[in-house]
Structures are given as structure tokens and as C-alpha cells.
Symmetry: C2
Subunit: 351 residues, 2 copies
Amino acid sequence: MARRKVTSIDVAREAGVSQSAVSRAFTPGASVAAETKERVHKAAISLGYRPNAIARSLITRRSHMIGMAVSYLDNHFYPELVQGISDQCQKRGYHVLLFTAGEGDAANTELQRALDYQIDGLVLASVSLSSEIANRCHAAGIPVVMVNRVSDAPTASKITGSNELGGRTIAHFLVEGGHKRIAYLAGIEETSTNRDRERGFMAGLAEKNVTLHARAVGNYDADQAAKGAVAMMQTPAPPDAIFCANDHMAIAVMDALRHDLGMRVPDDVSIVGFDNVGPAQWPTYSITSFSQPVDAMIEATSETLFEAIEAAVEGEAFEAESIELPGALIVRGSSKNPPGCGDTWALSEEA
Amino acid sequence: MARRKVTSIDVAREAGVSQSAVSRAFTPGASVAAETKERVHKAAISLGYRPNAIARSLITRRSHMIGMAVSYLDNHFYPELVQGISDQCQKRGYHVLLFTAGEGDAANTELQRALDYQIDGLVLASVSLSSEIANRCHAAGIPVVMVNRVSDAPTASKITGSNELGGRTIAHFLVEGGHKRIAYLAGIEETSTNRDRERGFMAGLAEKNVTLHARAVGNYDADQAAKGAVAMMQTPAPPDAIFCANDHMAIAVMDALRHDLGMRVPDDVSIVGFDNVGPAQWPTYSITSFSQPVDAMIEATSETLFEAIEAAVEGEAFEAESIELPGALIVRGSSKNPPGCGDTWALSEEA
């Protein structure tokens, strides 16, 4: 059913103003009474009038604000992500409205507040959200992109690194490096990053017919990670390798083992991390780590977000996307490595 | 000249609505037409009517957004500051609208944009602003608080650590620790932090009749800092102590000296930093550093900001404040220390 294109004449009639007033109402900086402008915009919306890009953005009343929730900034990974996404938003004339919150309920309370602002989109970095809030966003036409976390909210897009493959790769790498007592230091157990990394790691060990020797929980916290690793090392049969679920914990573990227990890495124990953050690359640590492609994640996040915002403006449907970006195991000095290993290491095709 | 208190009857008359409509217009959630509400609020503003706190916030149309500009997040000091200030804002029902920008002109362009949003206040962390923008904020009734930077904008409040005293203390500390060839590694030279730290450092050396042995510029950047320090160490008479203008540079310098030059800290050269960030406290670095009291700075920033916002709402004048918060020289293992030195070190009363 083709409809006649709505013109400014229709809008002028509907709003009870002159055609020139409609034109001025859609010209930024033009002289027009606020009340007239308001009436014109209402009429335009009700008729579906679309004069041009600028006018569209006026009609849709975009706030040019992107809500962004982050759980904690002490892990180096997140400041990088926040700055990168903020820079991408600014390039497009948008700015980030920040919500700092822990994991779980507190985060959901803050996200409720985010919706009180007229945000055009919502980015969750390291924060999960309840299905209820995801649904509220969806109903309000606010696209949601989760970075480095997934949840079962079907309406939210998800951008992640290759957590499961990374865990599996590290398992093969440690077994082929000759380790016999392999341990896992978990992050926050209910997070998707920990779940996926651990699942991949356990699957990789099983593929090699190796059982996990020890496990502790570091909750992605430096102090808890150090304590957990020290406790594992003080057992009668300490691990000869520990996969720490992120670099933030791996750094704390290396410091504690070296300085509190006088141990050598990797001579006494190999340490492998995840994320490949800046400090993991510092020569003092030189941590073997599965990389998260931060720049690619930032780009995928902004593209997914702004495509969805454009679709929302056009009144078109937008399918939530799930994008997994490839990482690689960067081999450095904190681990005993498989024979013939280069700067990076990948599962062989048959594995 | 006492004025009769403006009542809701006056507002109703001015707006041409019933008194009950005025009441409903100021009751959140009450049923009232948007146009009526608008007319009542305009009348209330023009008469200076102040029904109560909630109504005041409606009248003044606070956006409950605080603009916050940060220059770069890779130095650990800033993520801590951003998170702390965001948490403080959230406690008061406000949220941070983030502006990421480098130093200088780019920052000023972003700050121009900040004013296009209806922010209630502006926090600049490690960003200076031009007098022109400061004046625009002042004219618009938007309080500005600068954290860890000062500029000559008289209308902006300034919250800093004790940069000059810190530099002076470090000079005395190094001389009394027996160092003979003392060097300075500068940050970005046009920043107030570098200027004040260096000024204090030079004054302290002069008080001890010591001349600066060498100087390089690291621009608060890890790579440039490492290069500058390595170059100073490769001269015929290398320094026996380097004061790095912040810890972010001191860490990079320690890594480069140890791993690229095979030097020992402090045996071959003492390293002192500034800020006392998390990684400076890691046992691998254990950097002697003059502390910036981050928590106190966060608190002073939010108090100054929200007092000024309240004043703006009440139509009262608010004097810009300059608050210098005390730090202390935290003595760790990266420096040869004066005899009898404890965990901290301060200038003696006579100094």
C-alpha cells in the first residue's frame, strides 16, 4: 500500500502554521518561537514527515548521549575500553554518560537510572543486565550492546573476545609445555568471561586426558587472587602451572609468588593470563596471555551501536548481533613453552 | 529592601491557571497538562517562586548531569579519579557525562561541546581550560572544578595535591640520602602539575646548594620517559638519582633501566616518583613516591562542585575555591634513603 509522501504543506496544515514556519522549525539556528517549533515537530512526528537528516534528528529528539555502564576501572582493560568507546562516540557527535556500578543487583539499579535520562543507546562493559531491563530498553527503542559480557537477554547485542577458544588453547599449550599439575584461578564465577574461559580450559584439558590439579577463586581481585595462588602453592603437591582468568590477577599472583614466597616464574611455576593488558607486556612481568582485541572490540561496539541507532531512527527493525572477535595466545617469559614455540601459539588444525 | 514572599496564588495569577494547577505542576507524577506545567514553571521562575526542594529542582530544570573531561586514562591515577567522582555524583542522583580529550586545543574543542549539553557542573581532571570557556561556563551559571590542574581562570575552583611542596621535599630527601648527581624527568611542560613539581624541586635543590645535574622530558608518556632516562644514563657522568614527575613514568623508567641497561635500582640509581598510584606499590617496583590523596581529592571535588550547584540554584554567588590537599613522601625500596628514615619522610620544621 503506497502512501503519498508527506510534505511540509501537510505539516503546516496539521500544526496550524505557515509553510515557512515549518521550514524554519527544521533549520538549526533559524528564528522561530519555541512553541511554534514544538507544534511543528509534533505534527511532523504524527504524520511521519522526514525533511532531511538534520530534521530527522530533531524530530526523533536524539539526546546524543550513550549510556555506558562499567563495573570497575582498576583492571587496565576497562579504562582502555571506556576511552576508546568514548572517542568513537565523540567522532559521531555523541558523548558517553557514565554509570559506575559493581556486578549484579547494584548494576541493575544504576541501569534503571540510566533509562531516566534520554539516552540513545546503552553500552555495558563488563556488566550483565537483567532480562527485565533489556526488555525495557527494547520497548523504549534503545539499542543495547554488551562488551566482554554476555547474558541471555535476546534483544542485546554482544561483543566478546574468544573466551572459550582462549581457555582451550591455554590448556593445550600448558600440557604440551610439559606441565603435570595444572591449576585454574577463577574470576568472578557468575560472569560469562569466567564461565567461558573455564569451560574452554576444562574442555582442552579433557581433550588431552588431563584432570585439573587444583582450583581457587580470585574473583578478578588482586588481593583475593594473590591469596588463592599462595594457598595453592603451599599444599604438599603445588601446581606447576596456573592459568589465571585475567592478567589483573596474574600480575598480583606473580608479585605474591616472587616476593612473598621467593619463587621463580616460570622455573618454579608457569603463569598464564588473559586479556593481554599493558602491564602484562611490561618486561618485569612479561606474561604469556591470550589477547582480547581491544581496538577491534571498540570498533565492533560502536558500529553495532550506531547501526542500531540509525535503524531505530528510521523505525526499522534491528537484529541483535553476537560478534566474537578472535584473539591469540601471546607467548612471553612467564611460562615454560612447548618445543619450537614462537611469539604466538595456536591450536593445530587437528586439535 | 524586604520583598513580600511570592505565593502559589501569585504564580497562578501570572500563569492564568488555578492555584490547584500550580500545586499539581510542582508535584512529581501529578496529572497536569504539559502546556500548563510549562506555563506555571515560567511564571514561577519570573516571580522567583520557591515552593520546596523538589519544585526548585523542577524550576531550575537541572539535568542532573556533570560534564567531566579527562585527558588520558592510561595513567592509573585518572581511572581512580573518574570512578570516585562518578560514585560521588551517583550518590547525589547525578551522573557523569564524559569528555575524553588530549591536552590543549583538542580539549577546548570538546569542552565547547560539553556546553551544548545541559550540564549542571563541569569537572576537569588533568585538563586545563581556556579563560574563554571558563567565562562561558560562568556566564551560564555552570560551576567548574579543576582537579589536579590549575589555570588562571579565576571563576574555576581548583583541587590539587601539594605539588610544589612535594617537589621540594623530594629534593631535600635525595640530597640528604647522599646523592651527588640528581636529575629531573619532566612531564608535559605546560601542565601545572609539572610546573609546580619542578619549581618546588628546583627550590629544594637551591636550598641545599645543589645544582640540577641533568634534565630530560618524558611528557608523562611511558615510552618517552624510558627513552629520556636511558639517554641520561648513557652519558659519561650518569645521574645517581632521578625524580620522575609521575609514577607512570617512574615505572617505565625502572623497567627500561633494569631490562634494557641491566641496572639495579637503587644500587645504581635511585628512582622517585609522584602520585603513589597502585602499581608504584607493587613489590616489583616499590617506588618511593610523593602521594596524591586521591580519596580526599574526590571528596573535595564533589563537595566544592555540589555546594556551587546549590548556590547556583538558589541564585547565590559562589566564590571559586582553591584547595591544596596535603600529600606525603612514602618511602619504599627504589631509593637510597637518608639515615634513620622511616616509612614516610617530611621536611624538618627548620627546612
